[in-house]
C-alpha cells in the first residue's frame, strides 16, 4: 500500500514539474548566425515588466526577419530560481543560438562564466557591466533620466507639495531611479518634500500597499514606484484612497502601467517611466546579424535614442508640456542628471 502511494506522489511531483516546464522547450540541432535567445532573471516573459519587454523586442526582431520561434530562430528560457541561470544558458548554447541575452543584473556572473567557456557565442547582459570578456556586450540604461522626468511630472501634479518614492530593494540600479526622481522634483520646486521608502523585496504586494497607504495618509499625493510586483500594492492603495475621494496618483515603471491603474470609476496612473529593454535587445540582435556585435563594450541607452522615456497616461496638458521641455533640455545636454 505504502509503495503504491509513494509512486502516486512521485507521479504528482513529475506532473507538477512537467506543467511548470510547459512554457519553454528547446532541442539541439545545428544553428545559424541569425538566431538569438534570452534567459529571464526570475520573472516570466509576461511579468508586465522587464522580461516581457525584452521578449517582445526579441519577438519583433525575429518576425521582421522571418524567423520562427525555436532553434535557428528566437527563443527564451525561463529561470524560476537563481540556480536555473547556468543550466538555462547551457541549454541555449547547446542549441547553438548565436546571441544569448541575460536579462537583469542577477545574471552577470553566469554570463561571465559562460562567455569565457564559449568564446564564439555572443553574449549580452542587461543592467550590468561584465568586464574582460570580448564576446560580452553590456547594456545599461540611463533610468535616472526617465526618473527625472517622472519627478518633474510628480512636482507639476502635486497639490500638497509632498511626493513619495517606493523602491524594491536598495541596489545600484534602483538607486538611479531614486536619484533621478529627486532631482526632477527639485528642479521644478525645491520646496517639495520627497519621501523615500524601500520595501526590501520586489514581490511583496502587501508591504507595498502598507507603505503607500502610509504615504497617502501622510498627504503625499503622487508616488513613483520602482518595485516590480511590490508595486501592485502601491496601485491598490492608490485605488482605495481614490475611492475615498482623495486625488492621488501613481507613476508606473519599466512598462506603460496604465492598465494597472484602472478601477471602476477612474484611473490612478499618472505616467510611466519606461525602460525599453526590447529596443536594446532588438538593436543588438540586428547588429549581431550584420556581424557588428559590440562585444566587450558597454552600450548605453538614454532619452535621446529612445531607450528610456516617460509615457503620458493621465497628465494635464500643462504638466506634459513642462515634461517635454525638460526632456529637450536633457537631450541637448543642457541638464545633466546624476545617477547617484
Amino acid at each position: 500500500m505504502k509503495k503504491k502511494w509513494m509512486a502516486l506522489i512521485a507521479t504528482t511531483f513529475a506532473l507538477g514539474t512537467v506543467l511548470v516546464g510547459c512554457g519553454s522547450q528547446s532541442s539541439s540541432s545545428k544553428g545559424t548566425k541569425h538566431s538569438a535567445a534570452l534567459v529571464t532573471d526570475g520573472g516570466g516573459i509576461d511579468d508586465k515588466s522587464f522580461n516581457q519587454s525584452a521578449w517582445e523586442g526579441l519577438k519583433s526582431w525575429g518576425k521582421s526577419h522571418n524567423l520562427k520561434k525555436g532553434v535557428n530562430g528566437y527563443n527564451y528560457a525561463q529561470s524560476d530560481d537563481d540556480s536555473d541561470f547556468l543550466p538555462n544558458i547551457n541549454k541555449l548554447i547547446k542549441a547553438k543560438y548565436a546571441t544569448i541575452f541575460g536579462i537583469g543584473y542577477k545574471l552577470d556572473n553566469a554570463i561571465s562564466t559562460s562567455a569565457k567557456e564559449n568564446p564564439k557565442t555572443n553574449f549580452a547582459i542587461i543592467d550590468s557591466v561584465v568586464k574582460n570578456r570580448k564576446n560580452v556586450a553590456s547594456v545599461t540604461f540611463k533610468t535616472e533620466q526617465s526618473s527625472f522626468l517622472a519627478g518633474v511630472a510628480a512636482a507639476e501634479t502635486t497639490k500638497t507639495n509632498k511626493v513619495g518614492f517606493v523602491g524594491g530593494m536598495q541596489s545600484d540600479v534602483i538607486k538611479t531611479f531614486e536619484a533621478g526622481f529627486k532631482q526632477g522634483v527639485k528642479a521644478v520646486n525645491p520646496k517639495i518634500q520627497v519621501d523615500v521608502k524601500y520595501a526590501g523585496s520586489f514581490s511583496k504586494a502587501d508591504v507595498g500597499q502598507s507603505l503607500a497607504t502610509a504615504m497617502y495618509n501622510n498627504n503625499e499625493d503622487v508616488i513613483f514606484h520602482a518595485a516590480g510586483g511590490t508595486g501592485a500594492g502601491v496601485f491598490t492603495a492608490a485605488k482605495n484612497a481614490a475611492k475615498n475621494g482623495k486625488k492621488v496618483w501613481v507613476i508606473g515603471v519599466d512598462q506603460d502601467q496604465k492598465a494597472d491603474g484602472a478601477y471602476k470609476g477612474g484611473n490612478v496612473t499618472l505616467a510611466s517611466a519606461v525602460k525599453k529593454v526590447g529596443t536594446a535587445v532588438k538593436d543588438l540582435s540586428n547588429q549581431a546579424m550584420k556581424g557588428k556585435f559590440p562585444g566587450g563594450k558597454t552600450v548605453t541607452y538614454d532619452l535621446k535614442d529612445n531607450g528610456v522615456g516617460l509615457v503620458n497616461d493621465n497628465m494635464s496638458a500643462k504638466a506634459w508640456k513642462v515634461v517635454q521641455n525638460y526632456q529637450q533640455q536633457i537631450e541637448s545636454g543642457k541638464i545633466k542628471v546624476s545617477p547617484k
Binding site: L15, L19, V20, G44, K197, S203, D206, T213
Partner: protein, 319 residues
C-alpha cells in the same frame, strides 16, 4: 501626520496584512485539531487566489460591487476541493502528512499558472480586476472620538470578518459537540473510536474546513491586495499562517491574535518613519524590527506550545 492619523494608519495597515493570515491560520488550526498536519496551506491559498480572481474577471459585470465577496466564497469552495487531495492521501491512504502537504504546495502554483496560460492567451498572470475590496468606514462607529478614527475609518472590512470567524471558530472547537469530537479525534483517536466516533469522518471535516478557510485566505490576498493572480500573489503567506497558528498555540483565538501581531510587527516599522520623534532613526532599524520583535515576544511571553497529541499520526483501526 497627526497622532490620530498615525494610529489609524497603523491599525489599517496591520489589518491589511493580517486578514489573509487569520483565515488561513484558522484553517490550519481546524486541520491540526483533527490530527492532520497541514503544511499545504500555501497551496490551498494559491488555489483560492486563482479561482477567486478568475471568477471575479468573468462575473464582475453580473454581480457588480458584490463580486469580490462572492469571489471569496468561490475561492473557499475550490480551496475545499483542493484540500480533498490532502484528506484522501492522509486519511484513506495513510500517507505522510508532511509529504502530502508538500505535494499540494508544489502542485498548486504549477497547476494555477498552467491554467492561467490556457485561460488568458498564454500569459502568466491574469488581468487586473476592476471590482476589488476597497476600504470601509463603519457608519456610526466612526463618529466615536479618537477610537472611531483609529479603528473604524478607511479600514479593512474583511479583517473584521476574519476576527469574527476566529471567535466563531473558537466557540465551535471548544463549546460544541462536533467541535469537541473533532478535537478528541486529534488527541486520542483510539479512545474516540471506542466511544463510537467515526475518526475518518471527523478528520475529513477538519481538513475540508481548513481547505475552505485557506481558500478564503488566498482569495482575500487576491481580492484586496494584489488585485490579480500571478505566481507571486501568494509568496509565503501560507507558511506565515502556519507560524501564526503555532504561535497562537493551536487555539483559534490565539492564532487570530498572532496573525494580528505579525501584521502589527510588519506595520509599525513602516509607520515608524512618520512619527515625529522617530523620523531621524536609520530606516535599517525599522526593517529589522519585525523580526526582532517577533523573536523577543516568542522568547519572553510564550511557554511551550503543545500540539494536539495525535497530530500527524495516521489512525489505523486494526492495530
Amino acid at each position: 501626520m497627526s497622532f490620530s492619523t498615525v494610529l489609524m494608519t497603523v491599525f489599517s495597515t496591520t489589518l491589511i496584512y493580517a486578514a489573509p493570515l487569520i483565515f488561513t491560520a484558522l484553517g490550519g488550526a481546524f486541520s491540526e485539531h483533527s490530527g492532520i498536519v497541514n503544511v499545504g496551506l500555501e497551496g490551498m491559498m494559491i488555489v483560492g487566489a486563482f479561482s477567486s480572481t478568475v471568477f471575479n474577471l468573468f462575473c464582475a459585470k453580473i454581480f457588480g460591487a458584490a463580486t469580490p465577496w462572492i469571489s471569496l466564497l468561490i475561492g473557499a469552495v475550490f480551496g475545499l476541493l483542493f484540500s480533498l487531495l490532502h484528506a484522501v492521501a492522509t486519511i484513506n491512504f495513510r500517507a505522510d502528512h508532511i509529504i502530502s502537504g508538500t505535494v499540494l504546495n508544489m502542485l498548486a502554483p504549477a497547476l494555477c499558472v498552467f491554467l492561467t496560460r490556457i485561460f488568458y492567451n498564454g500569459k502568466g498572470q491574469t488581468p487586473i480586476i476592476d471590482q476589488s475590496m476597497g476600504t470601509f468606514t463603519f457608519p456610526g462607529l466612526s463618529k466615536i472620538p479618537l477610537l472611531g478614527k483609529m479603528l473604524f475609518t478607511h479600514t479593512s472590512l474583511v479583517a473584521y470578518l476574519a476576527i469574527i470567524v476566529g471567535i466563531i471558530g473558537w466557540y465551535f472547537l471548544y463549546r460544541t459537540n462536533i467541535g469537541l469530537r473533532l478535537r478528541s479525534v486529534g488527541e486520542n483517536p483510539v479512545a474516540a473510536d471506542t466511544l463510537g466516533i467515526n475518526v475518518a469522518e471527523y478528520r475529513y471535516l477538519g481538513v475540508l474546513i481548513s481547505g475552505f478557510l485557506g481558500g478564503i485566505g488566498g482569495a482575500v490576498m487576491a481580492q484586496s491586495i494584489t488585485l490579480n493572480f500571478s505566481v507571486s500573489t501568494i509568496s509565503g503567506q501560507g507558511f506565515m499562517s502556519l507560524a501564526a497558528m503555532i504561535f497562537g498555540k493551536w487555539n483559534p483565538l490565539g492564532a487570530t491574535a498572532a496573525a494580528i501581531f505579525f501584521g502589527l510587527a510588519q506595520s509599525l516599522p513602516i509607520i515608524g518613519g512618520y512619527v515625529p520623534f522617530l523620523a531621524h532613526v536609520n530606516s535599517v532599524w525599522f526593517q529589522i524590527a519585525p523580526y526582532a520583535i517577533t523573536i523577543v515576544v516568542l522568547v519572553i511571553f510564550l511557554g511551550k506550545a503543545v500540539a494536539p497529541a495525535a497530530d500527524g499520526q495516521n489512525y489505523i483501526k486494526s492495530k
